[in-house]
Every structure is written in C-alpha cells, then in structure tokens.
C-alpha cells in the first residue's frame, strides 16, 4: 500500500503555501448548499408580519382574512407562544427579548405575527392580509434623551424598572488618570460617534426547521456561525416544552457571509421551530433584505467623549473615554458574557500609555436590539477608531507629524509580552517595523511634499495613518464564556487505515476557507497531504463541541486545536513506528510525514504506513485506531496588528472623498495560507471603507429606519472600492501552537480611522478637527462650506 509521497511542506500543502481552496469547485459550479437551497418534502413557508411603528401598543390582531386565503395554514402570534412560555427569550447578555409580542412592539420592523403557508407567495399574501391595530406610544430614539428623567420607560416588562439605563461598566484607575490629565501639557478632547451599521452579508438569514414527531427529533438548518451554542440555547430555552439536547441537531450548511450577523438567535428562527413542532411539517423561513437590514442585529452605535493627554513634545500620557452605547430595546450584544462593552478596553491601542480610564453606559431605545461585531472582535473597531482619531488630533494639535507621534509612543518591540494599563497582556508585536514598511511602500515623505504643493494651489489632499492593535481569539476560559459556556474550541482528527484523514471542528466557515486552511494545518503536523484531509464543520451531530466562528477566533482556537490533536496522533504514531521498527521511541525523529531512526535515514516509517498498522498491526495492549480530539483553551488572546496609510483627494465642489491609494501592512504572526490571508485583508479593508464613507443606518424622530434597503444602505461596488495594496510583517504569537494570530477582521478594524484621518488631514489647515463617519459627500461639503470653501 505504500506509495512515494513527497514530504516537503509545499508538496503536501502544509503551512505557508497558497493552496487553491478545496471548497471552491462546488461554489464555482453552483453546487454550494446554502440554507435556502435546503428543500424537504412537504415543506411549508413562513413569512412575518412586521410593525410599521417604532413603539406601539398592539390593540388587536385579526388573522381572519389571511386564514381565508387557500394555502394559508396558520397565523402564529405572541399569544400562541405565550401559552408555551416561548414569547420571550434570553439574550447572550442576560437580557430578554421578544420572540413575538403580546402587548406592544418596541421597534419598527419588529416581528408581530408569522404566517405559515404552502408556498412563499401565499405566505407573503397571508402576511399582507393580517390586520393589526396599533396604538402609537411615545418613541425614544436618542440614547441621551433616553436617560433623561422624564423619558418614557421602555422596558415596562421588567418589574421595578424606572429608567432606560442598561448597565454601567468601567475599567482603569480614575484617580491616576485624572492626575495625569491635570499634569498634562496638552489635552485634546473630541466627541466621536460611530454610527449604527449592518453587516449586510449577501446571503440574508433564514432556516429550515424540521420536527420529526415520531422520534421527537428537531433538525434545523440555519444560517449560524455558532451551531453548537445554538443547540444548547435551544435546549435551555425550550427544554420545558420537551426539546432535549440529544434530540436537537443544528446544521449550519454553506454560509453566504456572516461577519457577526449570524451569531445571534433571531426571533424568526424560534418561530419557525415553534411552527414545525406545532404543525409537524418542515418550515422554511428566509428573510428578505429589508427585514435583514431593519430587524437583525446592528453593529456599533457608540457615542464617545474622548480625551487624550500628552507632554508638549508628544509623549502620550493618559486617555479617558466616556461612552454611551445605544443598544436598542434589548441588550442583545454578542459579547462574551462578562464583557458588556466587549473588549473595548483595548482602546489604549498600540501605545505605551500609563494611565487610562474608560466608562461605558448602555441605554434602551426604540430600535432593534443587537450589538454584533460587523467583522471585528467585540467592540474593537470602536476602540481603535477612537484612539486612532485622538492620536491624529493630538499630532496635529502639537504640530507633530502623525507618523512621528506614533513612532514616539508605540510599545517597543522589547516590551512584549506587554501588560496594558487596562489589563490586557499583548502577546507580541513590532509596531515600528509595520509603520515604517507602510511609509516606505507608499512614499510617505514625497506625499507630504505633494500635499504642501497641492494645498498652496487650493487643492485638498490628505494622508491618514492608522496603527491598530487587534485583540482576537476569545478566549481563555478564566475570563471568557458565553452564557457560562467557556470559549474553547475543538478539533477531532481521525486518520483512516489508508492514511487519509477526516477532521471535524467546532467552528464554522462562512467564506474564510476552513476546508483548506485546517487541512493545511493537519498536513503540516502529520505530513498527510492536505488533499487527503477532509474537513467538516457545522453539523452538531458529528462535529465536536465548539463556540463557533466570529471575532477572528477560528485559527487561534480551532486551528490550535487541530495542531494539538495532530500532535496527540503523532505521539501515538511514534509508539507504533517504534514498535514496527523495533527501536525505542527516543531513537526516532519526526519530519513531516515520517519517523526516521536517528542516524539511519534509510530506516523510516511514513505516516501512511503507521496509519495502516494502527488498524492492522498495532502493538498488543495499545488501543487500535489513530485519532484524537482536542479542546483548546487558549492561554491568552492573540494580538494581530498593522499600519495602514491612506491617501485621499477631496472634490471641493461635490464634497466627494476619493481614496487614491491605500497601503495595508498587516502582521498576523505565522501564516497558514498567504493567498487566503490576503483575501481576508482585502475583504476587511472593503468593510472598513464601507462605514468610513458609505454605510449608516439611522432613524428619524418617529423611529422610522432610514437606510433599511440596498437603495439607501450603500454597500460599495467594485467602482467605489480602491485597488488595495497589501504587505506583511511577521511576528509570531509566542503562545499559539504554530505562532499564528487571527486575521479575518484586522482590516475592518484598521481601515476606517486611516480614511477618516486622511480626510481630516486634508482639511485641518481650514480649522477642521473631526468629522464623524461615514464621511459622505453631503457631510464633507457642509464642513467645507462651514469653513469658507466654495468649490466649483
């Protein structure tokens, strides 16, 4: 059975090689299997009736006209669910949210009733025919007003609740920080709003829920980034109606983009499950784009007053952020449970600050709940945007070049592992090298000269830098859990007798390429060619338990678990090899794919030979087989970083910002697949460009959602998106099994402040200090006109 198999890392598709993706052939031929592609015999369709009002009492729901339509089988309301105590559900942040309302709605587009019909067209007709009578209630849109004493109390369902305040959270030493500010030569202060946006993955959310009455088994195909956690949540929430965890199977098939938006449990999923259990037939629910944008979890919505202190020669000394978080009507943020503001306290960024104090308060408003990430680790984008804007403001204020100010204040390479004043232990970094590389690539000094010339001619050109530090890979079990479940993740590898392997994981790719990168890790660790490693995720009946894919955690957790499981297999393989060659284990040395007897390169056993022996000729007393499972509890988070430089030209006539160049130098430690990492960076940059210049969801005074369709929610096309220029430095993580860090979200975090800083840099000489994102033409035009510039 042995065959000559090349053992170099390149030949087997090991780490560091740009292997073409294993998952692509099905996607390229239209053979992907997304939730909407799942069709079952007898399947029914669900459509949802939604509230036109942001805050209203439900006077009555009349479903008679809907039920009269042939093919409409049921109309489910909150009262129906109340009978099973399923009308409310817990959020990940120990708050509660409605599945379907019994007495009032809390935001525009909230689910009010669900229509079950024999096809989607009839379900839509049914939804249009349900008559709901509302009585409007006063609407709270502004989170600052929500906290005023005379604001209407929104959560009247909470006994004794007398205001709209959700939580107060603070970190850092206030007294030390106050003292540092009092002693500072220069203090800059700025209100910064990071608006509500939506991940808008091109696939919306949906599910097919199927309950087999005879076996009592529920199977749900759903758009989820965390299938195992969902299974447990379903079991906990619906245990009282007979759903038991061993009888629940969640299948997360191919996912058309997640970005954090497919972490939460949305009411639609729960209603579909209730419907299949009640009716006994499979029920499909696929939301449309407007439902997706208007009702699913939002990201950001942080109002911050930021202050930064420095000496007059540009040594940063202290930071103070005070933030109000608008959570909508429920705190349904997708954070680790102990962190109401996520990892926002990474906000000291890449700088060696000695004092910092951060306060965050959460407020209820009449908006949809949420607080998901939009392709970033928990609230890191908010932190990085604010510190990077403040550093630029400080640089301009004291007349220092923004690059020089950063270089002066970076944490030095020698200081790692570095303990930040707000408590994080940064694992590794070399910030100076990344910024210098970006400056060299873009030709920073020449650009500054060009800028001066242009300014003299009345043209507006800006250069913006962002030197970010990300914090990803949640997380160590001592601090990180979701509803008590620790945030480890898993890998299970089985090597078959012929030396091929199947590997299963607790995570779930949504485009990140796990079927390829995980196979490369296994190839690297075991010497089995990646082509021979089948990767599976997303089926809770087969995959080992894990918390899923978001917050750039797959490589730091499940990727690490893959290496650890492979090493367990290698340990056993060593024993088998020693037995086969009749030598001591200590006499063997490993190179990818084989054990060789020290000093005798002709005497070796390949992993394929060993695998065969594990099933056919294993040592007496040893368990047969060659497989291992590992649940990896990371000792620390990983801290990828980078420096981005953006050049913009501003059209003074129209207010349009044109991104002329954008150089991104990223460092995510050791790289599994450079092609995929570049792709992740490109995508992340585009999702950084989007909120910087285009995307926002806002609300009018009546709580009407503005920007709730692709007409006004401006996802950039290829025309608006620049040709990203990417490069890397490599600083391995010292604690990760193969030195990698997460990378999927670095660029989303790092890009917006680079663009924002470039725009303000172009206009600083006019007296402009800050512009909130998105920097739309109309907003930039207003700033120009307010500063006396009339374009033509």
């Amino acid at each position: 059975m042995t065959q000559t198999i090349p053992m170099t890392a390149a030949a087997i598709g090991g780490m560091g090689h740009s292997m073409k993706r294993k998952e692509d052939p099905r996607f390229l031929q239209g053979k992907g299997n997304y939730v909407e592609d799942v069709n079952l015999p007898g399947m029914l369709w669900m459509d949802i009736v939604r509230s036109p009002y942001a805050h209203a009492k439900i006077v009555s729901i009349d479903a008679s006209k809907a039920l009269a339509i042939p093919g409409v089988l049921a109309v489910i309301t909150g009262k129906d669910l109340e009978a099973y105590n399923l009308h409310w559900m817990p959020t990940l942040m120990s708050d509660t949210q409605m599945v379907l309302p019994v007495d009032k709605v809390m935001y525009q587009a909230q689910e009010v009733a669900a229509v079950i019909a024999t096809d989607r067209y009839i379900a839509a007709d049914g939804a249009a025919a349900v008559d709901v009578e509302y009585e409007e209630l006063p609407v709270v849109v502004d989170p600052f007003k929500a906290l005023l004493p005379d604001a209407p109390v929104l959560r009247t369902d909470k006994p004794g609740k007398t205001d709209n305040h959700i939580f107060h959270w603070e970190v850092g030493d206030a007294a030390v920080t106050d003292k540092a500010f009092a002693e500072a030569d220069v203090v800059v202060k700025q209100d910064i709003y990071i608006p509500r946006i939506h991940v808008a993955s091109i696939e919306t959310c949906g599910c097919v829920a199927s309950f087999e009455k005879t076996e009592g088994k529920l199977t749900v195909w759903m758009t989820t980034q965390a299938p195992h956690a969902i299974r447990t949540v379903f079991a906990l929430v619906a245990g009282h109606v007979g759903l038991s965890e061993e009888k629940i199977r969640i299948i997360s098939p191919d996912i058309g983009g997640g970005f954090g938006g497919k972490v939460p449990v949305y009411p639609g999923y729960v209603i579909a499950v209730a419907a299949t259990v009640l009716i006994g037939k499979p029920v499909k629910w696929i939301e449309d784009r407007m439902e997706n944008l208007q009702a699913d979890s939002f990201a950001r919505d942080y109002h911050t007053t930021a202050e930064l202190a420095a000496t007059k020669d540009g040594k940063l000394t202290a930071l103070r952020f005070k933030t109000l978080a608008d959570h909508g009507y429920a705190d349904a943020a997708a954070n680790p449970s102990k962190f109401p503001a996520g990892l926002y306290h990474i906000c000291t960024g890449s700088y060696d600050l000695q004092a910092a104090h951060v306060e965050v308060d959460g407020a209820y408003t009449n908006k949809p709940p949420g607080g998901v990430a939009y392709r970033c680790s928990f609230r890191v984008t908010e932190a990085v945007h604010t510190i990077e804007r403040m550093v630029d403001i400080m640089a301009h204020q004291i007349g220092m070049d923004p690059a020089a100010l950063r270089m002066k204040n970076f944490i030095e390479k020698e200081q790692f592992p570095y303990k930040s004043v707000l408590g994080w232990e940064y694992d590794s970094g070399d910030y100076h090298a990344a910024l210098q590389k970006a400056m060299d690539i873009i030709g920073y000094d020449d650009l500054r000269r060009e800028q001066l010339e242009k300014r003299a001619r009345g043209e507006y050109m800006g250069i913006g830098i962002s030197s970010f530090t990300e914090i990803v890979g949640a997380g160590p079990s001592k601090d990180f859990d979701i509803l008590g479940i620790k945030m480890f993740d898993s890998a299970e590898i089985r090597v078959h007798p012929t030396g091929k392997a199947i590997a299963r994981f607790g995570t779930k790719s949504q485009g990140q390429g796990h079927e390829t990168t995980y196979a490369q890790i296994v190839a690297q660790e075991l010497g089995i060619p990646m082509a021979h490693v089948q990767v599976e995720e997303g089926d809770t009946d087969t995959a080992p338990y894990g918390l899923g894919t978001y917050a750039s955690r797959s490589t730091p957790t499940s990727g690490a678990a893959a290496a650890m499981a492979a090493r367990k297999i290698r340990d056993k393989a060593r024993k088998i090899a020693a037995y086969l060659m009749e030598v001591a284990e200590e006499d063997l040395e490993w190179e990818p794919g084989k054990f060789t007897v020290k000093g005798n390169p002709e005497a070796f056993k390949t992993i394929q030979e060993i695998a065969f022996a594990a099933y056919t000729n294993h040592p007496q007393g040893m368990e047969a087989g060659l497989e291992a499972t590992h649940y990896y509890d990371p000792p620390n988070l990983t801290y990828p970083f980078g420096s981005y430089i953006c050049v913009v030209d501003i059209d003074a006539g129209t207010g349009q910002v044109h991104v002329r160049r954008f150089v991104a130098v990223d460092d995510c430690g050791n790289i599994i697949n450079p092609m995929i990492v570049d792709g992740q960076i490109h995508g992340g940059l585009s999702m950084g460009l989007a909120p910087a210049l285009y995307e926002e969801i806002s609300y009018d005074e009546a709580g009407n959602c503005l920007g709730g369709s692709f007409i006004d929610y401006l996802v950039p096309t290829a025309v608006e998106t620049p040709n990203w220029e990417t490069d890397k430095t490599i600083t391995p993580s010292p604690h990760h099994p193969f030195g990698a860090k997460g990378v999927g979200e670095s660029a989303t975090v790092g890009a917006p402040p680079a663009i924002a800083n470039a725009v303000v840099d172009a206009l600083w000489h006019l007296g402009v200090r800050h512009i909130d994102i998105p920097m739309t033409p109309s907003k930039v035009w207003k700033v120009l006109r307010d500063h006396g510039v009339t374009g033509s």
Partner: protein
C-alpha cells in the same frame, strides 16, 4: 391564481414549466427547476446574486417574471462548465481566490463571462464598471478583477490544457 405554461431553454435543455404570472424568474429557476446556484440577495435589483444570461446577456433574474422567459435561451451558473471542465472565468476565480463565501460568485461569474464575450481586452476600469451591478461583501473585489484578467488571458492565449476538477492542489 392563473398558471401559464412557459417554454424556454436553460443551459441548452428545452423546458416547459407551469408558472403563476407573478412568479419571479429566479424562483422558477431555483424552485421549479431546482437549479439553486442562482441566488437571491436583495429585492431591489442592487446585489446581482441572481444574475443569469438571457439570450446571452447578463440580467438580474429577480427583476423579471418567469413568464417573460417564454421562447428565450437562459444560462445559469450550472451551465458554465461543460463536461466537468471549468470555463476560463470559473478557473480564474479558483486560481486567483476570487471567491470566499461563494454566495455572490455565480452572479459575478455570469457577468464576467458575458463581459469577456463582448470585450476582448477590458481594462481594470472596464472590469470594475462591468461588475458594478454585482455586490460582493467578502473579497474586496481585488481578486475578482484578477480572476477576470486571468480568464481574459486564458481565453485569448493559445488553447491551454483545461483545468480539471480536483480539490486542493
């Protein structure tokens, strides 16, 4: 509900289907014919995930009624590869990592295939304009542009060995 018989060819095969007047063409393709490679990403004709060829031209199948396909020739992503051989655009998307989640990919490739059929050597600007009716959230478009350029080179070079479908390496 009045059902109409609609006749058309799709991926070279003649079909006769029953369709309600209001049935969107994309639903006919996905649900009646089971060709689920064509996707739906919005209802306002912005995302292009539903792009197919109608008599050779790329159009958004979510913004047509199935009854309008009468007598037409349709091609979907399932019709791009012939006999298991990827077309140059599919090959380019694979080689250049022009896809991540794969959801926009069928529509994107339909647009790209039509572009290269009508324009011999599109510039980067022309490629970006041509795909501006297709939204992608994952790739940042850079590698999609490269994928189309790869296909362009391949189509206009001397016939090269075709990519054969096999995973990974």
């Amino acid at each position: 509900m009045s059902m109409k018989t609609v006749n058309f060819t799709i991926n070279g095969e003649a079909k006769s289907v029953q369709a309600e007047s209001r049935q969107l063409l994309v639903h006919c393709i996905r649900e009646t014919l089971g060709l689920t490679g064509t996707h739906v990403g919005c209802e306002t004709s912005h995302c292009g995930a539903c792009t197919i060829h109608l008599d050779g031209e790329p159009v958004k199948s979510c913004t047509m009624f199935a009854v309008q396909a009468e007598g037409k020739s349709l091609t979907t992503v399932e019709g791009l590869a012939i006999g298991g051989t990827l077309n140059p655009v599919q090959e380019g998307f694979w080689e250049e990592h022009g896809l991540q989640c794969g959801f926009c990919t069928p529509g994107m490739m339909m647009t790209a295939t039509a572009l290269l059929r009508t324009v011999n050597e599109p510039t980067e600007t022309e490629i970006r304009e041509a795909i501006s009716g297709n939204l992608c959230r994952c790739t940042g478009y850079v590698n999609i542009v490269k994928a189309i350029q790869y296909a362009q080179r391949k189509m206009h070079a001397t016939p090269a060995p075709e990519a054969v479908l096999q995973g990974g390496d």
